[in-house]
């Protein structure tokens, strides 16, 4: 270190602040979640308890899983506008076939993951805009959901109900589940070598192709993973609500995109963060209803709260990025 010429010393300071800005940017998802938690604690201290978290984060698990699903397509520079109705379709299958005829139910769910893989292949081979293809598919899933379950009803399988009502000691189940989801996906996508390839397909597709990797395969894998986590999300949702409805997942499309972006993900360049995505989903789950209820804001403004949080976090990110340069 002593060998460095005196001339380089002044440069160290801006580089240090850039690194700080980058760290701040990485911490932004955690900071937004902390801010929402502090606000809730301040408005209603009793909510910060084992039972309080169990109640408030009730729906956080399916939202987090749907957000992770969306994150995989975004990692490949695509967007899935059908994830909401897909979650609804999976919910309907879970509440009917998976209970009455488990074998058929399992086959249908695996088949639907296969459909997602095929969509990935189609989008890559024909160079189609994923927004339009998945918008079209959102109609297909909705229609299939109505065909499976024309009227709200059905019942979740007992094993699923007992998993979702599991009460571990000390740590509320939703928090435990969120930690598990974040850890597993973080390891798979950020720490394995094929995870790097998957993210690279969004970062620099041309470079990957020249290095001999199949872009068709990465796209298929990314879409299949989206399908897999969409299935998990739908099952978790039914495990909590106990019965299904064809429209049950419709709000998840926009929530999942918002969660990925809140968690520090970007639309282009394969820049996503599984831990951030889970934190983003938790922030949205908390901010949408418990926080507003404690602030005595009518439920009309729940959707707006999501939009406002999204805008505030993005504005904060712009301020930080400006310093990064």
């Amino acid at each position: 270190m002593t060998a460095i010429a005196p001339g380089t010393v002044p440069k160290a300071s801006p580089r240090g602040s850039a690194a700080r800005a980058r760290m701040l940017r990485g911490l932004l998802p955690a900071l937004s979640l902390a801010l929402v938690l502090i606000a809730i604690a301040w408005l209603n201290p009793r909510a910060i308890s084992y039972f309080g978290f169990n109640l408030m984060l009730n729906l956080a698990i399916p939202i987090a899983l749907a957000t992770i699903a969306q994150m995989f397509v975004i990692a490949g520079n695509e967007l899935d506008l059908s994830i909401g109705t897909f979650v609804g379709f999976v919910g309907c299958v879970t509440a009917t076939w998976l209970r009455d005829a488990p074998l058929i139910g399992i086959l249908v769910l695996i088949g639907s993951i296969g459909v997602y893989a095929l969509l990935g292949a189609l989008i890559h081979l024909r160079n189609l805009p994923s927004i339009v293809v998945t918008l079209g598919m959102s109609f297909v899933w909705q229609g299939l959901a109505i065909l499976v379950l024309p009227k709200p009803g059905g019942k979740a399988p007992d094993w699923l109900l007992s998993i979702m009502s599991f009460k571990p000691p000390y740590v509320p189940f939703p928090i435990l589940a969120a930690l598990l989801i974040a850890a597993v996906v973080h390891f798979g996508l950020m720490r394995t070598s094929y995870g790097v390839i998957l993210r690279g397909s969004g970062g620099n597709a041309a470079a990957l192709r020249r290095a001999g990797w199949s872009l068709l395969k990465t796209k298929i894998v990314l879409f299949a993973l989206t399908g897999l986590f969409g299935v998990l999300s739908g099952m978790a949702l039914i495990g909590i609500t106990t019965s299904a409805d064809a429209n049950i997942g419709n709000g998840y499309t926009l929530l999942s995109i918002a969660g990925v972006i809140l968690g520090g993900g970007e639309f282009v360049g394969g820049r996503v963060s599984p831990i951030g995505a889970v934190l983003g989903a938790l922030t949205l789950a908390l901010a949408a209803s418990p926080l507003l209820t404690f602030m005595h804001i009518p439920p009309d403004w729940q959707v707006a709260a999501n939009g406002a949080i999204l805008i505030i976090v993005l504005a904060a990110r712009v301020l930080i990025s400006r310093r990064e340069r």
Partner: protein
């Protein structure tokens, strides 16, 4: 023969061929019954898709990533604003239309403000905006079921010789849009930005101003569409614009406009709008259930886009 060949090379011809095939299939099923009425109904419903479709087309032409996801919320809010301002009185029709137009244009301007100030992709900016607009609409239009003034409701349903007047006006509007796109500096600038934003900027195109204008224009068209929809369906509601998210994007893509930007096609929007409406009419005529209808609509849209294919990657 050469004229037929040049006609077949037009990217928009296929959407009209599709609409014709669907129409023929339906009248073959009914044995010719209701063929004319179907065209009238298709024209009156296609109008609403075409108006927002043209706005969405200008936005999409700006280049990859440009899309307005706030249109459904915009339409919903503007329909409520228009009905509230008109307040059921014929004298206020023009004021109500202007209010809806201003409401939509303001939403478009805010969309661009978010894109510009936060430097975020348009998808996320219009998405966040749509969350907020939706809440404003729910809160503003709570329990609101104001009927349109009788004069306005009659106007949106007015037909001359079986052709809806609104459809004629929309044809005039789309001809204007086509001229603006191909012959005016504004339209050429939009195309230039879509082809290469940096080259357009170096060539002296006011990129920021043109993008601002385009988002505002798209928002304004959404606003006027909301007012007309409330007139046609005799009342505003929050969900009135929901189907126009898919429809506005689908008509643009099916109509032969490039999703990669820089290549727009106005006649195709009409063809695709008619195709979508006639498709729904056909499935209804066949008497399929709601579930099957949704599945088939989705599959046909995916199928048409697959057949039309994407752009070859330019590299």
């Amino acid at each position: 023969m050469t004229s037929v060949r040049t006609l077949l090379e037009k990217p928009w011809i296929w959407s009209f061929v599709g609409a014709l095939v669907v129409w023929l299939a339906t009248i073959a099923f009914t044995g010719g019954y209701g063929a004319g009425g179907m065209v009238t109904a298709a024209l009156s419903l296609a109008v609403f898709t075409v108006i927002v479709g043209v706005g969405q087309m200008f936005v999409i032409t700006l280049g990859p990533g440009n899309v307005d996801l706030s249109l459904p919320a915009n339409i919903g809010l503007a329909s409520a604003v228009a009905m509230k301002v008109m307040g059921g009185s014929d004298a206020m029709i023009v004021v109500g239309l202007l209010a809806a137009l201003a409401c939509g244009a303001a939403i478009g301007a805010i969309n661009y403000l978010l894109i510009w100030a936060l430097r975020i992709p348009p998808i996320i900016a219009t998405l966040s905006a749509s969350f907020i607009i939706q809440s404003v609409d729910i809160s503003y239009g709570r329990g609101l079921q104001i009927k349109p003034p009788p004069g306005f409701a009659d106007f949106t349903n007015w037909q001359v010789l079986g052709i809806p007047v609104l459809a004629m006006l929309t044809v005039v509007f789309t001809i204007g849009a086509a001229l603006a796109l191909q012959r005016m500096i504004y339209g050429r600038s939009v195309l230039a930005i879509g082809q290469n934003i940096r080259a357009a900027w170096l060539a002296g195109v006011h990129v920021g101003r043109i993008r601002f204008l385009t988002y505002t224009l798209c928002g304004a068209l959404g606003g006027i569409d909301g007012a007309l929809l409330a007139g046609y369906f005799r009342g505003a509601n929050v969900d009135i614009g929901n189907e126009y998210l898919l429809a506005s994007i689908a008509v643009v893509v099916i109509g032969g406009t490039s999703v990669a930007g820089g290549k727009a096609n106005v006649p195709g929007v009409w063809g695709a709008g008619l195709f979508l409406v006639l498709l729904l009419t056909m499935l209804n005529t066949f008497g399929v259930s709601a579930g099957v209808r949704l599945v088939l609509t989705g599959l046909i849209i995916v199928g048409v886009i697959t057949a039309a294919g994407g752009e070859k990657a330019v590299r």
